[in-house]
């Protein structure tokens, strides 16, 4: 069969181990508070669905059949790439917002320093 019914067992084991490591890593990042919860949620869900998919690839077969994609692995690529695009775009938005906030803060600090200095001079 052309990859529809059975995924190679080696690939499956690699995927299960990889996704488990990824999940544990993410959870550890959250636990040690290195990842803000807002962003962590996306990654927890992502890594959890990787674990699910690698253990029950049937889900993927179902999705592939639903979307008329011949090879399940292509359905996987499609899902992962879409998800990544979404995450990267969200981050770009977040970075733009941060940049604007930092700029405003820097300007405000500069102006306050100038006022402070003038007040000092005037006594």
């Amino acid at each position: 069969m052309n990859g529809m019914g059975e995924m190679s067992s080696v690939l499956r084991i690699i995927l299960i181990i990889g996704s488990l490591i990824f999940f544990v890593f993410i959870m550890n990042m959250v636990r040690t508070k290195k990842l803000e919860l807002k962003y962590a949620l996306t990654w927890i869900l992502t890594s959890f669905s990787f674990v699910l998919l690698s253990i029950f690839p049937e889900i993927l077969f179902f999705i592939a059949a639903l979307m008329h994609i011949e090879l399940p692995v292509n359905a996987l690529y499609l899902c992962v790439i879409s998800l990544l695009l979404l995450i990267v775009f969200t981050l770009s938005v977040a970075v733009s917002r941060q940049a604007l906030r930092i700029k405003t803060l820097v300007q405000e600090i500069g102006l306050i320093k100038e006022t402070l200095e003038r007040m000092k001079k005037e006594g």
């Binding site: 604007l100 820097v106 300007q107 500069g110 100038e114 003038r118």
Partner: protein, 243 residues
């Protein structure tokens, strides 16, 4: 009436400066010789040289930014300063000596006449420093693009020698482009129905230091500013969503 009013208008000269310690003393001296009543503020964009010390020596108020923001962020700080201190007119002048303070009065005259922005253009009379051929071609392109988008011909859309009325001080203090802001802000102002005039000025080649637009960045500059200008033309009116 206008004669009466114009002498009561509080005027601020904004000088964005990055590594201009060598050029500023001459500019201060020339500004002092101008027979007009105005204040000066230098926005020191985190220069590693003595820019801040030079300003203090000359008793010029200086806002020192703790982080380098680039020309747009620095100029916007100037507009915020103008807004905070209730200035009626703000004039931008480069700290590198390209802009001759003797033309200050002429640039301001259009604001007295009721225009919201007055731009010092080096191309109306074509005297003085005209910059290189490729640069002129780029500037010509932006003139054409702005004419296409707004209907008004601006001969020197990249000129940083410009005066703004109180309305535009408020607008620019609220939002201002990050880098290469000049052509974009012209379109933003025109789109919000503000009136812009140009006056002929003679610019000088910069005294020392180098332009922010180097040869390698020229293509990037052209693409970025073209996009920014088009975006400004289709942006929402009054403030561009940067809040």
């Amino acid at each position: 009436m206008e004669q009466m009013e114009k002498y009561n208008l509080k005027t601020l000269v904004i000088i964005p400066a990055y590594k201009e310690a060598k050029n500023l003393p001459r500019l201060f001296r020339e500004l002092k010789e101008v027979p007009l009543d105005f204040d000066i503020v230098v926005i020191n964009d985190c220069s590693p040289d003595d820019t801040e010390a030079v300003c203090r020596q000359h008793g010029i108020p200086v806002v020192s930014l703790p982080v380098n923001l680039g020309i747009g962020g620095a100029v916007q700080t100037g507009y915020k300063y103008a807004l905070e201190h209730g200035y009626d007119i703000a004039v931008q002048m480069d700290g590198d000596g390209q802009h001759d303070p003797r033309f200050l009065k002429l640039v301001l005259s259009r604001i007295y006449e009721g225009y919201h922005m007055s731009i010092g253009s080096r191309f109306i009379e074509g005297k003085g420093y005209q910059s290189s051929l490729t640069r002129r071609a780029g500037i010509k392109f932006f003139s054409w693009l702005i004419k296409l988008l707004t209907g008004q011909y601006i001969s020197d859309p990249t000129s940083g020698f410009r005066a703004c009325s109180r309305e535009l001080i408020r607008l620019f203090a609220g939002s201002y482009p990050k880098d290469y802001p000049e052509p974009e802000t012209i379109v933003t102002a025109l789109r919000n129905k503000y009136r812009i005039a140009e006056v002929p000025v003679i610019m000088r080649p910069r005294q020392s230091g180098e332009s922010s637009i180097t040869r390698n960045l020229a293509a990037y500059y052209m693409i970025k500013v073209t996009l920014a200008v088009i975006m400004a033309a289709i942006a929402r009116k009054n403030g561009d969503g940067a809040k």
